[in-house]
Amino acid sequence: MNKRHSIVSVVISLQVLTCLAGLSTALASGSSYSRFGVGDLVRFGSSRLDAMGGTGIALLGDGFINRLNPAGLAGITHTRISGGFEYSSFFSRDNHGSDRYSRGTFKGLAFAIPVDKAYGITLLLETSPYSNVNYALQQRDTIVTQDFYGTGGLSLLSFGGSVTPVNKLSLGFKLNYLFGRIQQFGRFDFVDPTFLDSDISRSDFHSGFNLTAGAIYEGTGDLLSAPSLSPLALGFVISTPAKLSVNRESILTTTESFDTTATSSGKVDIPLALGFGVSYLFDSRYYLTADVYLQNWESAKFFGSHPAEIRNSTRVGVGFESLPQRETEAFWRRVAYRAGFYYNSTYYRINNKPVDEWFVTGGVGVPIGPDARIDIGLHVGFRGTTADNLQRDTIVRLTLSLSASEAWFMKLEDE
C-alpha cells in the first residue's frame, strides 16, 4: 500500500464518517446545559490531543495537525489530512429522575500543506465544530405539557498558517469564520382538548470572524543555559473576540396560522480566549503536557445583554503520551499510548450556581499505513451536580480520528 492509496482511503473513510455522523446528529439528543449560551463548547485539537487531557498548546511536531495552536503546524513535513468522529453518551440525572442518550458527531476536517520546511511554513484549511446544541426537555403539569428542543450549533471554517522566523520559535495564525444555526423549539400541548396547541420555533443564524494566533517556543533550555530544559516547549494561543451577527426568526404555529412573530438581527459576542501550555519530552519517547485555557465570557453580550447563565470559563488539563517506536515490527510497540485529565470550570452558571466538569482521558494511536494513523480517544467524566435543581451528567466520549499524509508541493529532494 503506497502513500497515495493510504490518503485516498482515509479521505473516503472520512467522507463516510461525515455523512453518517450528520445523519446521526439529526436524531440525537444531548445535555440540557446546551440550552444556554451558544451551547456546549467543543474544544478539539485532534484525537491525539483529546486523549491527552485535551492538552497540546505547546506541542509541535510532525504526524498530526495541531488544531489548538496554529503554531504547532510548523513541524509538519508532509501534506496531511485528518478528520474525526465522536460518539458521546450522556447519563443525566436530576432530583426527579434520570435518562440516557447518545449521539454521533462529526469532529471536523483539517488539511495542512507544508510549503517550506526550513521556515516551518505550513498552510491550513480547517473546519471544526465550535459549539453544539442538542437537548430535549419536557415540563409537564396538569394543564399543559411543554416540550423544548434545541439543535444546531456553531462551526469554524479556518484558514491559516505557520512560520518559524527564528530558530525554535514557531508562530501561527488562523482566520476563523464562525457560523451556524441554532434552532430552538417549544411545543405546548394542552391537556384540555378545548385548548389550541401551539408550537414556537426560533432560528438564529450566526456569522462572524475572529483571529487565532499562537506561538511555541522550544529554546528555553538554551535561553537559560539549562540542558535539562531543552525538551521543554512553551506554548501560547490567543483568539480575538468576535462579534457574531445573528439573524433571528421566530415562527409561531397554531392550528390556524403560521406566524412569523419576530425577525430581528443582533449581536452575540464570542469573547477573548487565552491559552498557555507546556510540553516536556522525556527520553525522546514520553511527552508530558499541561494547558490552561481561559475565556472571558463575563464580558459577552447576547443581543445587548449579558445572560445570567454565562460566566468566565477556565480549563486546566494535563496529559501524557508514550510515543510509538518506529523501528520495531511489533504491532503494540508501534502504537502510541495516551492518558490525561482535565478540569473545566465551564461557562455555564445555571440557577446562579457554577457548572463544572472533570474528565479522565485515554487513548491510543494505531498505525494503519506508512504515515497514516487512526487515533482513538476516550473521555469519561462528570459535569454539574444534582443540587440546586441542577443536573449531573456522566459523559463518555469516544473520538476517532483518521490522519494520513502525502508529499505535495515539496521539492524532490525534500520528499
Binding site: 473513510s13 447518545s102 454521533g104 419536557q138
Partner: protein
C-alpha cells in the same frame, strides 16, 4: 505490508463500529430530566383577557343551498313558499296515456299551531332556477310562475308524519319533457301557501329515508291490456324562500336575532387590541345570554347555534365555525358558549375586522328564533369574549 492491510481493515471496522455506536441509544423524545434548568422565560405563561362586544346587529341572510326540508305555510308574520322539480322523467312517458298525476309529500315538521288548517296552491314554474340563491322575492316575482294554479289543496290539519297529495295537471307534466330532451323545460312546480296558522316542513330529496322523499306519481293506461299502471319519480331538487314581516331587528342593538329558515343572523364585533402582538391564542370562548322571553322554540328545536367566522370582506366563512354548548347558569339564565379560538387566532394574525356571525344550527331546516342580548344590553348580559393566550417568543 500484510500488517498494514490488516490494520486498514481494522480502521474500517472501527469506523463502522463508531457509526453504529452513534445510532445505538439515540433518543429524541423530550424528558423531564433537567427541566429544572429551564429559565422561567422559556415556560408558558398563560394569561386571560375578557372583552365585551363593541357592536351587535342582526341582518337577513340567504340560507345554505342544501336543505332536507321544504317549508311551506304561513304563521304570524312568517311566510314560506316552496319550489321543487322532479328530474329524470323517463322517455317512456312520451308514449303513455297519463290519466292523472300527483305529488306526494311527507310531513315531518311544523312551526306554529300543529292543529291549524293547512292549504296551498300549486303552480307551474316558468323560469329556470337554482338552489343556491333563490329567495322568496325571486319566487314571487312576476313571470316566475303561472298565476293560475294547476291545483289547490285544503286540509283541516296535517300531522307531522302524514303525507299530502297535490294533484298535478298532466299537461304540465307533458310540458316538462323527458330526460332525453335537449331543451330543458322542466322548471317544476311552486307551492304557494294559502293558510295562516302553521308552516309545515316536508321531507325533500336529500332525506336519508328514501320512503320519505317526494314522489311524483303518474297513473297511465296500458293500451295493450287496458289496465292502469303507475310510474313514480323521486329524484329532484327543491328550495324554499321564507320571509318575516317588517321588523326592527336590524336596528336593535340591545338584542341579536337569530331566526332560522327566514333567515336572520346576528353579527358581533369585538375589539381585541388589548391582546399583545403575536400572542398565541390557546382558547377563546364567546358567551351569549339568551333572552327566553323573546325567543321562539318548539319540540323540533335543536338548541344549538353556530358562531361563524366573517372575513374582512364580510364573507361568512361556513368552514370556520364554533358550535354552541348551551348551559343554565342560574336563575333561569341560559348561556350559549361558543369555542372561537380559531377566530381569534386569525384576528390577531391576518384580519382587520373582528366579526362573528351567529346562525342557527341547520338554519335551513327550521324556523326557530334565538334572541340573545346584544352589545347595548346591560353589561352583565352583553356578549362576552374570554381569551386565553400566552406570549411565547
Amino acid at each position: 505490508m500484510r500488517l498494514i492491510e490488516t490494520n486498514m481493515r481494522l480502521a474500517i471496522a472501527l469506523c463502522l463500529f463508531a457509526v453504529t455506536l452513534g445510532y445505538i441509544g439515540c433518543s429524541e423524545d423530550p424528558n423531564p430530566v433537567g427541566a429544572g434548568l429551564l429559565p422561567g422565560a422559556d415556560l408558558l405563561k398563560i394569561d386571560t383577557v375578557s372583552t365585551l362586544a363593541v357592536r351587535s346587529y342582526s341582518q337577513p341572510a340567504i340560507p345554505a343551498a342544501s336543505t332536507t326540508r321544504l317549508l311551506v305555510g304561513k304563521v304570524d308574520d312568517i311566510e314560506s313558499w316552496g319550489v321543487l322539480s322532479f328530474l329524470v322523467l323517463p322517455d317512456s312517458i312520451r308514449y303513455m296515456n297519463i290519466l292523472s298525476a300527483e305529488v306526494i309529500l311527507r310531513s315531518e315538521y311544523h312551526y306554529g299551531d300543529s292543529l291549524a288548517p293547512f292549504s296551498l296552491t300549486a303552480h307551474k314554474v316558468l323560469r329556470a332556477w337554482g338552489t343556491d340563491s333563490l329567495t322568496i322575492d325571486s319566487l314571487k316575482a312576476a313571470g316566475f310562475y303561472e298565476p293560475n294554479p294547476m291545483s289547490s289543496l285544503t286540509l283541516p290539519s296535517v300531522g307531522d308524519t302524514a303525507s299530502i297529495s297535490i294533484p298535478i295537471d298532466t299537461t304540465v307534466i307533458r310540458s316538462w319533457g323527458t330526460i332525453s330532451d335537449t331543451t330543458f323545460q322542466n322548471f317544476g312546480l311552486l307551492l304557494q301557501p294559502t293558510n295562516s296558522g302553521v308552516v309545515k316542513g316536508f321531507a325533500m330529496f336529500e332525506a336519508s329515508d328514501a320512503s320519505h322523499r317526494p314522489n311524483l306519481l303518474m297513473r297511465f293506461l296500458r293500451t295493450e291490456s287496458g289496465k292502469i299502471d303507475t310510474v313514480t319519480v323521486n329524484i329532484g331538487i327543491s328550495r324554499y324562500g321564507a320571509r318575516i314581516g317588517n321588523t326592527s331587528w336590524s336596528s336593535d342593538s340591545t338584542h341579536i336575532y337569530v331566526r332560522n329558515g327566514v333567515s336572520y343572523r346576528g353579527m358581533l364585533e369585538f375589539d381585541v387590541s388589548s391582546l399583545p402582538p403575536h400572542a398565541a391564542i390557546h382558547k377563546a370562548v364567546l358567551e351569549l345570554t339568551l333572552d327566553r322571553s323573546q325567543s321562539g322554540f318548539n319540540a323540533y328545536t335543536v338548541d344549538s347555534t353556530l358562531a361563524v367566522f366573517v372575513s374582512d370582506e364580510g364573507v361568512v366563512v361556513s368552514t370556520i365555525i364554533g358550535l354552541s354548548e348551551p348551559a343554565e347558569v342560574g336563575d333561569g339564565v341560559r348561556v350559549h358558549r361558543f369555542p372561537v379560538g380559531q377566530f381569534v387566532q386569525r384576528w390577531v394574525r391576518a384580519t382587520t375586522q373582528r366579526r362573528i356571525a351567529i346562525a342557527g344550527y341547520a338554519e335551513q331546516d327550521a324556523l326557530d328564533l334565538f334572541v340573545f342580548h346584544g352589545a347595548a344590553a346591560p353589561q352583565a348580559l352583553r356578549p362576552k369574549l374570554t381569551i386565553v393566550y400566552s406570549l411565547i417568543q
